[in-house]
Amino acid sequence: MNKKIIWPILVVLVILAGFFVRVVGLDKSPPSLGFDEAALGYNAYSLMETGKDECGNKLPLTLRSFNDYKPALYAYLIIPFYKIFGVSDQAVRLPSAVAGTVSLIFSFLLLKIFIKNKYLLLGIFILIAFQPWRLHFSRNALETNLSASFFLIATWLLILAKTRFRVLLSVLFLGLSAYSYHSARLAGPALLLLWALDPLSWIKKKKISLKFSRLLYLTLLVVICLPILIANNSQLVLTRFRQENVFNKFYPYAPKELLDINGSMAYFLIGRLVGNVSAYISPINLNNRIFHWVRGSPQYIPGMSMLGWIEGIMVLFGVVYLIKRFENSKPTRIIIYWLVAGIAPAASTWTWFHPFRSLNIFPALEILSGLGIVVSINYIDSKIKTRLLKYGWKFVFSMVLGVSLVFNVNNELRYSPYLNYGEYQPGGFKEGMPYFAGLIKDYHHVIIDSPHAQNYIFFLFYGQIKPELVQSYAYLRPKPGIEGNLNFNFNKYEFRKVDWPVDSKLTNTLFWTRPDITDEEILRVDGAKIEMKVSNILYETAKIITTK
């Protein structure tokens, strides 16, 4: 077969394999929707049915949801999948899976700019396609993954920006990125500003040269993003930042014993900010260390961090590559701007290393890792004289990386559901709620008791409760600005702890309760019946009880 045809076929095969791994069993791993995913899913359902979100806002740009004002774009993108596949876990996650696959294609195009050797290019591309973060974030309904994909496309267009059209297209994708996730609202303009000014080019020129005309694109991006900024809830969006920013959280920054030293507060605050930035190129954070705020959330990838073990180390060599080439290569400079712009929003928050908030940079880090591998291979090759050794070590290295990729796939598809099922609210809603919803019409009173956070959203999503009904009670919901448990009682539904000795006296009531109420306690009550014992993927987690 013609060599010219083989290469594109191989690349397409990798993309197809990547797509397959991203979509296979989306309802089984992760085992159920997390509360943010369920919120996106229910809002998409509500938008599809009524054109309004769960709170009754017509065609919103942001979803009030848990008073965290999620960007709404992801929810809109779920709708076509609902139309095709119906309301399901898979449909909620598919936009992310598709975005992850599209991002893969553009990662290849980016790599192609930097790596000229076809074998290395294909090898690095395969490596990138199955990185832990790519698999994990593409298999979850996460707005940040969608945003990162748009950001990647925008950066690729910027690197190739020889025509005005491409830059305009890039601005459009940065806009989409900003409409997908909060952090891109800062990262997008920052990238465009750095691209416009190109400050690193001043080092070689030894003078500051400004191209003001390029700043027009920045203005255009700001205009595109304006609707988000002037929306009446923009102040509430800022509330979130006020809670999360580094300046509030660590005040007064320095240990109390040192506060009397002039400047100590500034020293520790700036140190923390610098640390927040460097955390994203610290290999141990990229490939192994798991911070507690990561472990307790759906961004947790069991057993590893974002990149593979070797790939994480190779980022360091990639950094050296960047430092070596940035003066003479504009694409290299744009990679640096990409990193800086992408890290900036995450670095201004209190968490040292936070993948959610910095996901925009991970495609860039992968490219760095790929370049690091290329540099290392070339260096080692130049030192080895024997042909056998030359091919031998590369074979072993490829095998090790190849098996690591198989591990990543197995880890994500099979092992992750066991280890991080707790982060997906294992209340058994997915398993039991369809049955529960079928009983509702026969009862006057419905009580839902579950220790899982924001359990009302699982009831709404898996029970497919009519959006019009939920919207009509929007005035009962906890007011904007309130965080924590946002459950609210409406119509005949109550979300609270069940006190069985007392509540068992309620007649014509449907209960969703904890499993620790024993069968004996239930059956002792006249007319009480255990309708179903609900199990999640590992254990019994709830009971559905009715009283006459």
Partner: protein, 420 residues
Amino acid sequence: MFNILAYPPTEEQVKIMGWVGLYGENWLIVLRVVATLLLAFSLFLLAKTIAARTSRIVALVTVCLLIISPTLWVVALAYPLTALMLFCLSLVLNLNYRFFYIGVIVLPILNVLLIGNHPTVLSKIGFEEIQEKVNNHFYAEDSLREKIETPLWFRRLSGNKIFFDYKEIVTETLPFFDLESLFFGEINPTEQKSIVMFYWTEIFLLVLGLYYLTKQKNKEINHFLLISGLIVWLGFVFSSGPTNLRLIGAMWPISLILATGLVNISKYIAIPLSLLIVYGILINASNLSRRSEYWFDNRPLVYQFWFENIDKLDLSKYKTIRVSGRVGNGKGYCFYYLGEKCKKYNFIFESFEVPKDEIEKNTLLAGFVGEFAGSREDNRFPNNWVDKVQETGIKILAKSSVRDSVAFRFGEDIGLAEIE
């Protein structure tokens, strides 16, 4: 205020005193002087090596950056064997290139034999433990009620002893690439305190240094960095203990990179940056002196408290004196603080737990609150634990507390008690 120089000996220092059979405060000073001299020699050798490959000014700045590092002060104060290792490292790096490879082999071995570090990586190599891990992994996957089915051969490809062994070993070596421990000791996010190695202000020099090194294309220096990096990486892999001590060898090549940055940048940047570093030194010196109990290893303080209080008592009235072995080598400390009394009286250096162990009467006990009152999983003990313990017939003679739970589950309070 806690005086840094009055800091009691570490276990390493006590161990060396045991080797030569000479205990006491004067010998502690001798050890500290020897460690300081070793460090001075190693810095001199390093400067010589670097000067031969680049310039004297880079060599001088490299050494200056090392001298201002609090980790090196602490090595001089408390870790003489680490000082000896650093001296060997400098010696090996100063030799001809062909001897570099000796360092690659010899230094890790010395690390294991001399410091007595039992590298955790060695324990990962065995297949027995790994087999159990593989089995558990498969069991966990299979225990799910709903799961994605993949062919067994595909699962076996990565779910086997060899790959799991590789995974364990690799993950054991990854903390070497830890910018947080190297540059952010003051603001470390991992809640794992370790003495500052480089001030965070110096991280800018790392980037600048790499920039100038790539521009200069000095093969000699690049080779030096590569070889020294390899040696210290192996040293790290074949060691265990606090991260900053395991990583200490990495300070040698990194300082050279930092120095290259500082020497080559424009004076308009170099001067303010240097001032910032000096400010960092002042802040950190204050930090160390005002919060030394936070920064230093608290285990020597525990032994100091126990033995200084034991020394005040008439030991002849006790049949047995039990000193907890929960935080290290109690025997060595006993000789350091009590000298011949250690041989004269019946000392037992073992952990105990009064509610569980049968302890005979007429025993003097030195231990943690959990050893008197019973251990607790959450490491929390009531404030009135003394009263509660005394109700059981144990008389608390002295008590104190240390921070940071050096013996988890056994509390932060320590005490001296007798069973009459």
